[in-house]
């Protein structure tokens, strides 16, 4: 504040001359304006990122700074069946949940893009699962998936579709399906609303022209909607994949990785070993092992954005 208000007065002393220089030089001013954000991010984001990589090479425990042990943590994890199971689970969880979220989200977006009565009301309530804290909605799912009093089991039994209660979270296969279903439930709104935004930027005239040319409804979707929506699909799904891959809350609430590690994701395993088990070094190594996957997703996003620029004639 003092820096810039001084600029209004004619420069007299050396000090005010410096202040004038600072307020008129874009670089100096830019540096000053960036300082609060940059300081917070460097201290609490960039530094911990490096510290995490370093911890992965040490045998640090809670309350005891570790010493450098090279790639011992990674060697240990390489032979650890539970670690590989968690990698498999994470990939399964991410891929199946993302495909379902994309398909259902796109479907919902196409429905909401129709001329509906109470359009904004529907848009508002559809977003609810995304707004509510994940942990709290996961607790509701926990109760829905209860082994004894599950409302789903009860309803299916009343309808005569099954003859015994489903053990949603106690059986490995069921538990995987259940956590994926809960994740999809929470993820659909984000995908649907962002894709809806993309759909609304497609000019009606394109559909009219294609209809005049005799295009069927499927052709309209395949050759008009989908190509124009591709860039936004790329961004939305990259975000969705990133957040699903690093998911922690839902698993921690519903299963804590069980039964017999069948739903352990890399993030929950990292927490279990690093914080609950106190092996900070090993936990950090598991977290670092997630980085290559994340980089792959980010590169995918980058090329998605490139394609978008090309489609818009290099502008924007």
């Amino acid at each position: 504040m003092a820096v810039t208000s001084a600029a209004a007065q004619p420069p007299r002393s050396t000090l005010s001359r410096i202040l004038t220089f600072v307020s008129e030089s874009h670089n100096a001013l830019g540096f000053g304006f960036m300082l609060p954000a940059a300081a917070l991010l460097l201290v609490f984001l960039t530094y911990p990122l490096g510290l995490g990589v370093w911890l992965g090479f040490t045998d640090a425990r809670i309350g005891r700074p570790g010493i450098f042990i090279g790639i011992e943590n990674y060697e240990y994890l390489w032979d650890d069946a539970v670690f590989w199971l968690s990698v498999f689970n994470t990939l399964l969880y991410t891929i199946s949940a993302s495909i379902l979220k994309f398909a259902l989200g796109l479907w919902l977006a196409l429905i909401l893009n129709q001329n509906l009565p109470f359009k904004s009301f529907f848009r508002a309530i559809v977003l609810l699962p995304w707004v509510v804290p994940t942990v709290l909605s996961a607790i509701a799912f926990w109760w829905i998936y209860d082994s004894q009093f599950s409302i789903l089991s009860w309803a299916l039994m009343e309808m005569g579709l099954i003859d015994h209660r489903i053990n949603f979270l106690g059986d490995p296969e069921n538990a995987r399906a259940s956590v994926i279903a809960a994740n999809v439930w929470r993820g659909i709104p984000f995908v649907a609303i962002t894709l809806l935004a993309g759909l609304q930027t497609i000019p009606q005239s394109l559909y009219e022209a294609a209809t005049l040319d005799g295009a069927s409804r499927w052709q309209l979707f395949r050759y008009v909607t989908l190509p124009l929506l591709t860039p936004i699909i790329a961004i939305t799904m990259t975000f969705s994949v990133l957040f699903t891959f690093t998911d922690f809350q839902l698993i921690y609430v519903l299963t804590r990785g069980g039964p017999v590690n069948a739903t352990h994701l890399m993030a929950t395993l990292s927490f279990q070993r690093g914080i609950s088990g106190g092996q900070l070094g090993e936990g950090a190594a598991i977290a670092v092992a997630m980085i290559p996957f994340l980089l792959a997703a980010i590169l995918f996003s980058y090329f998605g954005l490139q394609r978008r620029k090309w489609q818009q004639g290099g502008g924007d």
């Binding site: 600029a7 874009h26 001013l29 304006f33 960036m34 954000a37 804290p133 607790i139 009860w154 009219e208």
Partner: protein, 297 residues
């Protein structure tokens, strides 16, 4: 000619090409799937609410009471939650932490976004890209090193541990959102002000910020919601019951060994969701448009 045609038949224009579909077809392709989506997306909230007001007897006796309804609604669970647990304290903690983190992040993000978008210092593009990449760094890979830092800084088990770490995901997000907003403000306004002798500070406070109030509101709501929902840092950095936030407190303190207080749990989840839902319902149009704005960007 075409202009006259469309103005004569606004009802067709409004519906796009919807008139090409027959009514039964629309029911099957639009209304029925929409109904199923809405039911599935809202059911957990309904179930949460109905369980929160259900007496324990009805909750476990499906033979005599239809579980989808409640015969004798009770406020017992909510009374228990508010007067016999630390829940009000968790609510207060969450409000304080979320507000402080939001305020801190918005302040830093406004300056950063303005600098990147309008000051165009050398390297602004690269800094903008770095901010975007910072948003992609997930808390799941930062919580272990951050817990070491928090401990060494003596912040462990204090609200400051969360107030200072939440900006790591709030600042990139808010900066990104505000950059899009600032871009929509015409350069000419700033040039006029510069010619009239305004300083950069005056331009920011008297021209750019008043024009970007909607953007500030949506960034603020997003930031508040994100900090309200945060879980992994709050779980890792907070130890004592009285310092916990709502999501962590409900999960770790209300679940006792093998007796699940489902009524109190659901009441806790419901009351913990209400503030963000209310906040969001007031500003839903901001929310949707800025979300789409952020993504279009």
């Amino acid at each position: 000619m075409t202009a006259i045609e469309t103005s004569k038949r606004p009802e067709l224009d409004e519906g796009g090409m919807g008139y090409l579909q027959s009514v039964p077809r629309r029911v099957v392709t639009v209304y029925l799937p929409l109904l199923i989506f809405v039911i599935v997306l809202l059911f957990p909230f309904y179930w949460m609410t109905i369980t929160a007001v259900k007496p324990n007897l009805e909750m476990t006796d499906y033979a005599n009471f239809n579980p989808f309804w409640v015969v004798h609604p009770t406020l017992e669970h909510i009374r228990y939650l508010l007067f016999e647990t630390s829940y009000p304290g968790w609510l207060l903690n969450t409000i304080i932490i979320s507000t402080a983190a939001t305020f801190l992040s918005l302040l830093a993000a406004v300056f950063a976004a303005y600098a990147i978008e309008r000051l165009r210092f050398s390297g602004a593009r690269q800094v903008g890209l770095a901010v975007f990449l910072a948003y992609l760094v997930p808390p799941s890979i930062l919580f272990i090193p951050l817990s070491v830092m928090v401990f060494n800084l003596g912040l462990y088990d204090t609200p400051f541990a969360l107030i200072l770490t939440y900006p790591t995901f709030l600042i990139p997000f808010c900066t990104w959102l505000l950059m899009g907003y600032f871009r929509s403000i015409p350069f000419e306004l700033e040039e006029c002000a510069l010619i009239d002798g305004a300083s950069r500070w005056q331009i920011l406070t008297k021209i750019v910020l008043p024009l970007s109030v909607p953007g500030l509101i949506s960034a603020g709501i997003f930031a508040f919601t994100l900090s309200w929902n945060e879980f992994i840092y709050a779980l890792t950095f907070i130890q004592s019951s009285e310092n916990k936030t709502v999501p962590v407190g409900v999960l770790t303190e209300l679940v006792r060994s093998d007796v699940y207080e489902w009524g109190a749990l659901m009441a806790g989840a419901l009351i913990g969701s209400l503030p963000v839902v209310v906040l969001y319902s007031f500003f839903v149009e901001h929310y949707v448009s800025s979300m789409t704005g952020a993504v279009k960007e």
